[in-house]
């Protein structure tokens, strides 16, 4: 049984069907990438998994239990931690407070996890008392990931961690995601940066206008002509 099973979900914004029956699964310990152009439904899929949106049809199971329609603030107690699109750190809270917010579900933040986050992101340690709103984009992304780790995730949802960041920073962040995954955290990552994401992912799904059009192992997708043409910007002879 997969850790996360998404079964034919349909999500609507008013009259618009953003997801038209999306199915996929994520095994424990895997990194799975959701790829696709703007508006394909990647973010909506993640929001539905983390409980920010509720599917009109279909089922989502986590650890064998249905979680579709369970609100986000309860889902985090099962270990689903979502790093939302655009990072969404709390700008008028300090770095420290942001990290503590990530551990809100616990009585108090776990000191060991905090130390570990500081090891992963030494930059955050340097800026611990600063308002999160004053950090650079890359630092905010680190903070957003660190904040999610404070919630001790079993499944980490990452939405476009590379958005608007310099290539070097993107590299760093992907390395850290690999490290986090190495510690046993399952990762579902949404990316436009397909090359980076597929290099990291065990498997990937390609979404187009609310449907899964292609799926396979990271390697296979990287080699697939359609993926190369559409998302890696390569000319196919």
């Amino acid at each position: 049984m997969a850790l996360l099973e998404v079964d034919d979900i349909e999500v609507r914004y008013g009259a618009i069907r953003a997801l038209k029956g999306v199915s996929f699964d994520v095994e424990e310990g895997e990194v799975v990438a959701l790829l696709g152009a703007n508006g394909a439904g990647k973010t909506t899929t993640q929001k539905t998994v983390s409980g920010m949106m509720r599917p009109a049809l279909g089922e989502i199971r986590f650890d064998g239990e249905r979680i579709d329609g369970v609100p986000a603030h309860t889902l985090i107690h099962r270990g689903i931690c979502h790093v939302p699109e655009g990072r969404r750190v709390f700008p008028r809270m300090s770095v420290k407070e942001n990290l503590e917010m990530g551990a809100f579900r616990f009585k108090r933040p776990d000191k060991q996890v905090l130390d570990h986050v500081m090891e992963l992101f030494p930059r955050l340690q340097e800026r611990i008392t600063q308002f999160a709103g004053t950090l650079s984009g890359g630092e905010q992304q680190m903070l957003a990931i660190g904040r999610a780790l404070m919630g001790k995730p079993r499944l980490l949802l990452l939405d476009e961690p590379s958005m608007g960041l310099a290539p070097l920073i993107v590299q760093q962040i992907f390395e850290i995601v690999r490290e986090i995954n190495g510690e046993g955290v399952t990762v579902l990552i949404v990316e436009q940066n397909a090359a980076q994401a597929l290099a990291l992912a065990n498997r990937g799904y390609v979404l187009e206008t609310g449907e899964v059009v292609l799926s396979g192992s990271g390697k296979d997708l990287l080699a697939d002509d359609r993926v190369r043409a559409a998302y890696l910007g390569e000319e196919i002879a």
Partner: protein, 316 residues
């Protein structure tokens, strides 16, 4: 000089009450970007609620010893706060939450608030026979001077109002900045969907925010009743002034509401009684309301984000 200092004491007294009420406007605005225009009736309800409770244990003109005064004070503040909190929570559940669930436009919330406000004020009028300007019974000697130095006097009731308001504000400030409840309120104010991802129940946090703001306004209702009068329409003027105070300090900003309340109280008393034109006899203390609302207009025109800026809320 002593006249000026007496006016300062008066200004601080009024300002303390404005600040307590203004906090309710600002807290709710922080989490909902909505002005709870029924908040003035929460204040009124607190005054009536505390009157009923305190009246049950003592009587007019009792003049107890100091520990009796403290007992009445604690009971009055506590019951005022409890009734204010209950009414504010009821407002959120009845007048606002159903609209939020439906994603109603802002105007609907405003109309709902006005309706709830009329309902509460008329209900109190009906229940209490529309007695206007009822004096709050004097359970202790409110005019007893606790300070009287060189013509400067601070009456017992003034001291009680200023000290208890300061204590409550200190308590609130600590709670918002240092407790988990406080951080959940700040998180919802900054970014509600992300706060939910952290495990914060948004609806519960909003309800708690109403309860805290309601408790402060209810306690202020008791203080106001003790110092001045109470009636079913007592909420209107202090309510609008507290709103002005919240805007003055920066709506959504907690310390701003405290500062705005105190400043508004001081300015509305000190400006019209300024010796220079006071001596001309043209304007005097009866101009306080004019000054207060002039300040509201000026701040909206010149610095709509208030003195300290809109800190708690998203709109920065």
């Amino acid at each position: 000089m002593h006249e000026f200092l007496n006016y300062v004491v008066l200004g601080l007294t009024r300002g303390s009450m404005y600040a307590l009420i203004a906090l309710g406007y600002t807290l709710v605005y922080g989490v909902l970007q909505l002005i709870n225009f029924a908040h003035s009736e929460v204040f009124m309800s607190g005054a009536f609620g505390s009157y009923l409770v305190v009246n049950a244990v003592t009587h007019d003109g009792a003049h107890p010893a100091w520990y009796g005064v403290i007992g009445i004070l604690v009971l009055g503040l506590g019951s005022g706060a409890a009734v204010g909190a209950a009414v504010a929570y009821g407002l959120e559940r009845v007048a606002y939450r159903p609209l939020r669930r439906r994603g109603a436009p802002k105007l609907a919330f405003l109309i709902s608030a006005i309706g709830a406000s009329f309902f509460l004020s008329q209900l109190a009028g009906k229940l209490f026979n529309r007695l206007n300007n009822n004096d709050f019974p004097t359970y202790f000697n409110v005019n007893h001077h606790v300070v009287a130095v060189a013509g400067v006097t601070v009456s017992l009731v003034q001291a009680i109002i200023i000290v208890s308001a300061l204590v409550m504000m200190l308590f609130l400030d600590t709670m918002v900045n240092r407790t988990k409840l406080g951080s959940s309120i700040r998180a919802v104010a900054e970014d509600a969907p992300t706060a939910a991802l952290m495990g914060i129940d948004i609806d519960k946090t909003i309800a708690r925010t109403f309860i805290i703001g309601g408790a402060l306004a209810g306690a202020a209702g008791f203080l106001f009743g003790t110092a001045y009068f109470f009636s079913n329409t007592m909420g209107f003027i202090p309510g609008v002034k507290a709103f002005a105070a919240a805007v003055l300090g920066g709506i959504g900003n907690i310390r701003g509401a405290m500062l705005g309340g105190m400043l508004l109280g001081l300015i509305e008393v000190l400006l019209p009684t300024f010796p220079w034109w006071h001596a001309t006899g043209l304007i005097g203390i009866q101009w306080t309301d004019v000054v207060a609302f002039l300040i509201l207009v000026l701040i909206l025109v010149l610095r709509p984000t208030g003195l300290l800026g809109e800190k708690l809320g998203r709109a920065a």
